[in-house]
C-alpha cells in the first residue's frame, strides 16, 4: 500500500541527488526505477584526493617555486619592478626638464606613487592564510590607482622650464596617445610579476588590485619621462592608464572564467 508521505520523502531525496531509504511501497519503487540516484561515497576518498594533489604539485614548475616565496619577498619583487622602471627612465629616458624640475616635488610624487603601488600590490597578493581583506578596503585600493594620477593631473602643475613642456596644440592627440601607451608599457613589469606571484586563481578584485599596482608603476615611468606639464594632457594621456589596464584585466579574467 502506498504512503503519500514516504513517496514525498523519496521524491525529495531523488531531487536532491541522494539515495532514498529502501521501501516496499510501490510508489517509491516506481520513482526510484524512473530516476535511479547516482551512487555517492559516504566520506572523502583521502587516498584519491592525495593522489590528485600530488599530480597538481608535480605540475607546479618554475612558477610554483616563485609562488612559494614568502609574501614579503613577493611584494618586494613587485616593488623592485617599480624601482627598476623608475631607474631605467631616469637613466635612459629622462624628461628633458629634469634638471629644472623641483626635486622635492618629484621625490614626493614618486613616494606617493610607490606607497600606492605597495598598498595595491599588498591587496592583490593578500595571502590566503590571513582573514580575507574587507572588500571595501580592497575597492578603495583599486580606486587609489585612479585617484592618484587624477590628483596629479588636476592639481597645481610645476612650472614649464623647457620647450618640451609645452608642445604645439596640433600634437595634443599624438602626445596623449603616446603617453597612454608608454604608461601601459611601464606598468607591465609590476603587473606581470604580480600575476606570476599570485598563489591562486585571481578573482576580479585581485586582478584589479594588481592592475592598480601596475598602473601606479606606469605613472612612475610617466612622471620621470614625460615633461608636459599641462593638466589636460595628463588627463588625456596619463589618467586613462589605470582605466585601460583595469579594462584589460576584466576582459582577460572574464574570458578565463568562462573557459573554466
Amino acid at each position: 500500500m502506498s504512503d503519500a508521505t514516504c513517496c514525498d520523502r523519496t521524491a525529495a531525496a531523488l531531487r536532491a541527488g541522494r539515495r532514498p531509504a529502501p521501501s516496499d511501497c510501490p510508489g517509491c519503487q516506481a520513482l526510484v526505477a524512473a530516476r535511479p540516484p547516482l551512487p555517492e561515497p559516504a566520506e572523502l576518498d583521502v587516498q584519491a584526493a592525495f593522489a590528485g594533489l600530488e599530480a597538481a604539485l608535480a605540475q607546479e614548475g618554475w612558477r610554483g617555486r616563485l609562488r612559494a616565496w614568502p609574501t614579503w619577498a613577493r611584494l618586494a619583487a613587485v616593488l623592485g619592478a617599480l624601482a627598476l622602471v623608475g631607474l631605467a627612465n631616469a637613466l635612459f629616458a629622462p624628461r628633458p626638464d629634469l634638471g629644472g624640475f623641483p626635486l622635492g616635488r618629484l621625490l614626493g610624487i614618486l613616494a606617493l606613487l610607490g606607497a600606492g603601488a605597495w598598498a595595491a600590490a599588498r591587496g592583490g597578493l593578500w595571502p590566503l592564510q590571513r582573514p580575507a581583506l574587507d572588500p571595501r578596503w580592497a575597492l578603495g585600493l583599486v580606486l587609489l590607482g585612479l585617484a592618484i594620477p587624477l590628483a596629479l593631473a588636476l592639481g597645481p602643475q610645476a612650472p614649464a622650464t623647457h620647450a618640451a613642456c609645452t608642445p604645439p596644440a596640433a600634437m595634443f592627440s599624438q602626445k596623449a596617445f603616446g603617453c597612454l601607451i608608454y604608461g601601459c608599457l611601464c606598468a607591465v613589469p609590476a603587473l606581470g610579476l604580480g600575476v606570476i606571484f599570485a598563489r591562486g586563481p585571481l578573482s576580479l578584485l585581485d586582478g584589479l588590485l594588481l592592475a592598480a599596482a601596475g598602473a601606479l608603476c606606469g605613472q612612475v615611468g610617466l612622471q620621470l619621462h614625460c615633461p608636459i606639464t599641462d593638466g589636460t594632457h595628463q588627463l588625456a594621456g596619463h589618467v586613462p592608464v589605470p582605466v585601460l589596464l583595469g579594462g584589460v584585466v576584466c576582459v582577460v579574467l572574464g574570458v578565463l572564467g568562462r573557459r573554466r
Binding site: 572523502l44 604539485l57 612559494a68 614568502p70 590566503l128 590571513r130 578573482s203
Partner: protein
Amino acid sequence: MQDLTDEELMERYVAGESQAFAELFARYAPRLGALFRRALPAWVDVQDLVQQTFLQVHRARRDYQPGRPLRPWVITIALNLRRKHYRVVSRATAELVTDPAESGERGRKQLERAEREEALHQALAKLRPNQREVLELHWFEGLPFAQVAEVTGASLSAVKVRAHRAYKALRGLLEPEA
C-alpha cells in the same frame, strides 16, 4: 611521524620532509572534507577544494611562523577558498547510504536522522554568512573563540556576539521542526 604534533610536522615539511606533508594531509583531509561538505552538494567539488587547500598550504609554507598553531592557519585557507570560488549552498548532509538489508526500524531511524540533519543545514543556510562561519568554526570544528577570532579576523568580543546571535537564531529556526 604519527607522534609529532601538527606544528612539528609543518616545520619538518618547510624544512623539506615530504612525508610530513603526507601525514598532515591524512590528518586534515577528513575534517576539511566535512567542512566543505556542509556547503557543497557534490563530493567532486569537496575533493577539489581539499586539494586546493593543501596546494595553498604548500605554496604558503614559507609564510608559516614556527610555533604558531597550524589548525587555524589551515582552516583560514580553507574558508577563504570556499568563499572565493564557490557559492555556499545549503544542501543535505552526507548521503544516506543504506544497506538494502537495513530496511525496517534501522532504516527508518537513519532516514529520520538524515531529515534532522537536512533541517539543520537548511537552518544554517538562513543565517548571516559571518554568523554561520563562526558557528561552523566553534561548533563543528571545535575551535575556541580565540582561534575563531584569528581565523575570521574579527575581535574576540565580536566573535562571541556573533556566536550568541547565531545560536539564538538557529534555535528559533529549528524549534518549529521539533
